[in-house]
Subunit: 305 residues, 2 copies
């Protein structure tokens, strides 16, 4: 799957992933209204609203971006119907040949991580059958529990040729509280980065490993160091746009060949119609506004090479 | 909810939580067979099997243990039907007045953690309505992203009088890889423990905080230190039994008054019928075997006081 991701990025000239993180207040009034008319102001109604919102955006962007990253929290907050909308979104994106990065940030002790790994990336055994459950292409994973929380994911990745992105340095303001603390003179995130390189060493695609990492756009100096620590790991870079990261600051995350990183934007694209710059589209053309914002982001990032 | 947990622990004399982590191979053949006959060897069939398994066990233990801890990974691996079985289990346990600790180990940047917090512990806004989604009493949370990943959970806990258990030192073999690394001469888990005390300081129940922590039974010396670092935080202690922790090693996790900790056992109770000691029950009386194992665990832990 890392090979597919790299090849799509090259072909489209777009190291960009669209975060499908639909807060209900991003969804235009008329979409919500229609969903509530059908299902009421219920979890089912909310799930229908975000699904219709997603679908319209996906239809507008699938031919210009290589990947999407649905954030499962935004679905899980609507309970079981929300999780069903997540699954529907994953399946629809895959049917449009988008690479799907499930932003699930799971991680637990060994046997439990194994359950997450089969549920999200692999196949679960039921009687004599092996069945896919959520079936994303990639998943994000939390490293706090160490190697035996990560290993089951890597095993499934090797079996299924799928991938993970391990949280190394997150984009949020208080990420430094633990991640930046010095251990033998080096920050924790560097040690995690070294482990990522180690975990991914024997799970290689053609050029890059099945094991990537997450490094926030808001910390470019750290990106530069981490790029060297994990030369074979794709870096998933959140924090561009809404969280304050700019295109110029992104260069250090990439390798010389312009590969090695994929930059996420969520709100900046899916809620573009709410921005001054795209207000001409109006709420009724929210999905076209998303396409325009994606095109602008692709051009912005292309400008750094 | 922490007050209810403490009061139930006192009343039952049982600082014990049963982990509802139903691997499909724990579920007796006849339960699986029945579910597969109805739903086929599908995700729905697996979900039905684990739900029936849980229900029978809950019916046998709800009057002797104060709390249960369903591990969501074991449900999520069966996709949307699995997550529905998780929700059904949560609701059923609450109807039996059990305190429900959702072992979800969620954690993300601020706005995303807020979605997890409302989805699991609070109410999500849909149009003019505020609706509960998963509605557990407590959730476990991963601290790697720092304060702004935790704060949204604490806010919801205060609003709803619910609680969280933050991962401090986990029970798995490689937990030390990052958690034990020294920062200014002290291990990372101690710094996380200090933060837990800080996060919980203004979210107090009668005697204990809404913000508890997870410290594995497999590291009693660390438990002793962490007990002092977080005097007002309940400690959720996994790793008893199957993972190697013994009752004698648990004393340091408790305060002088015998409160302050709650010990989890999963496989040791829910799959008791597979153990030599409880084999007389046979698979058909698996739930009675679970009750006997829970009684033995309660007695074992009572013996340390």
């Amino acid at each position: 799957m890392i090979n597919k991701l790299v090849s799509k990025i090259k072909k489209m000239g777009a190291p960009v992933v669209v975060g499908l993180d639909p807060m209900l207040n991003y969804v235009p009034e008329f979409v919500q209204k229609k969903a509530f008319e059908e299902y009421g102001e219920t979890l089912e109604g909310a799930a229908e609203a975000i699904w219709q919102f997603n679908k319209a955006i996906v239809d507008q962007i699938y031919d210009i971006v290589p990947a999407v990253k649905p954030q499962i929290a935004m679905y899980e907050q609507f309970g079981v119907p929300g999780v069903a909308a997540y699954k529907k979104t994953v399946d629809y994106c895959k049917s449009k040949d988008l690479v799907v990065i499930g932003d699930v940030k799971r991680g637990d002790i060994g046997s439990t991580s194994a359950a997450y790994a089969v549920g999200h990336l692999g196949k679960v055994t039921v009687g004599s059958k092996k069945i896919t459950a959520f079936d994303e292409d990639f998943a994000t994973v939390n490293p706090y529990l160490g190697t035996d929380g990560i290993k089951p994911f890597v095993d499934v990745c090797k079996e299924e040729k799928k991938g993970i992105f391990v949280l190394v340095k997150t984009s949020n303001p208080s990420s430094g509280e633990f991640q930046d603390r010095l251990i033998d003179g080096r920050p924790l995130y560097e040690l995690v980065g070294e482990k990522v390189a180690e975990w991914g060493a024997d799970a290689m695609g053609d050029e890059y490993s099945y094991v990537g990492c997450v490094v926030g756009a808001t910390y470019p100096k750290m990106g530069e160091i981490l790029r060297k620590v994990m030369p074979k790991s794709y870096i998933l870079v959140p924090g561009y746009g809404a969280q304050g990261g700019t295109a110029a600051s992104l260069r250090p995350y990439f390798n010389e060949d312009g590969l090695g990183a994929i930059v996420n934007s969520s709100r900046g694209i899916i809620a573009a119609y709410k921005q001054e710059a795209y207000s001409k589209f109006g709420p009724e053309h929210f999905a076209e506004a998303s396409r325009a914002a994606a095109e602008a982001m692709i051009a912005d990032i292309a400008s750094i090479f």
